[in-house]
Amino acid sequence: MLVFTRRKDEAIIIGDGIEVRVLRVGKDGVRLGITAAPHVPVHRREVYDQIRAANAQAAADASSVTELLAKLREATGQAAFGPAPGAGRASGDD
């Protein structure tokens, strides 16, 4: 791991145009400002890890997914699902 000492208002550059700047150093945390192109995803590590763990649980390999689906269909046979949403309703604008 590359380790830098940075003070308030100092930054590092990663690759082509990603900047990480120290905005504030407090007792309980450091406030960072990330500047990157809009298409570059930036996530909080722990949030990403939570979703990664959830995905790992949800994933099936190709050979067992049909089995999983059959199990689900059997289990959900009695369940009431809402109506299929219209395509328009399923989109988000904000």
């Binding site: 809009p38 298409h39 995803p41 996530h43 909080r44 949030v47 990403y48 890890d49 939570q50 979703i51 990664r52 763990a53 959830a54 995905n55 790992a56 649980q57 949800a58 994933a59 099936a60 390999d61 190709a62 997914v65 999983l68 689906l69 199990k71 689900l72 269909r73 289990a75 959900t76 369940a79 699902f81 809402g82 109506p83 299929a84 949403p85 395509a87 328009g88 309703r89 399923a90 989109s91 988000g92 604008d93 904000d94």
Partner: protein, 132 residues
């Protein structure tokens, strides 16, 4: 199954999915027999497959919100109707849950997809669909 997939049916996830970052190409299989579920099947050897359901089918009040950066990544224009899918999990105890916090979003107009990763979602990673 993947043999019959044509290029225009392939949804590209440029970042993959968290935990499966190297799988970029998926197909969505919807069929009457699968209803209300959709199969999200990764292409390529060893790629994962998922069972998904539209979040609105699980929670009628589900409100899909998308960040401007995600819209950009999907190359979504104002009129594009986005497809939302939440991944379904059978937990170890047999409970079936749905990940409403981090749904998959696909833009059918560009066939680009991503998984929403947000810190401040009101929805659960394991919204109960069925008790064990």
């Amino acid at each position: 199954m993947t043999d019959s997939v044509t290029e225009r049916e392939i949804v590209t996830f440029p970042e993959g999915l968290p935990g499966f970052e190297t799988t970029r190409r998926f197909v969505l299989q919807k069929a009457d027999g699968l209803e209300p579920f959709t199969l999200v099947r990764g292409l390529d050897d060893g790629a994962p497959a998922f069972v998904a359901i539209e979040p609105q089918r699980v929670d009628g009040d589900f409100r899909a919100t998308i960040q401007p950066g995600d819209r950009l990544r999907l190359q979504a224009r104002a009129g594009d109707a986005l497809l939302w899918l939440a991944l379904v999990t059978v937990q170890a105890d047999g409970t079936v849950t749905v990940n409403l916090r981090a749904p998959i979003v696909v833009n059918p107009a560009t066939m680009l997809g991503l998984q929403v990763v947000v810190a401040d979602s009101p929805y659960a990673l394991d919204h109960p669909l069925l008790a064990a």
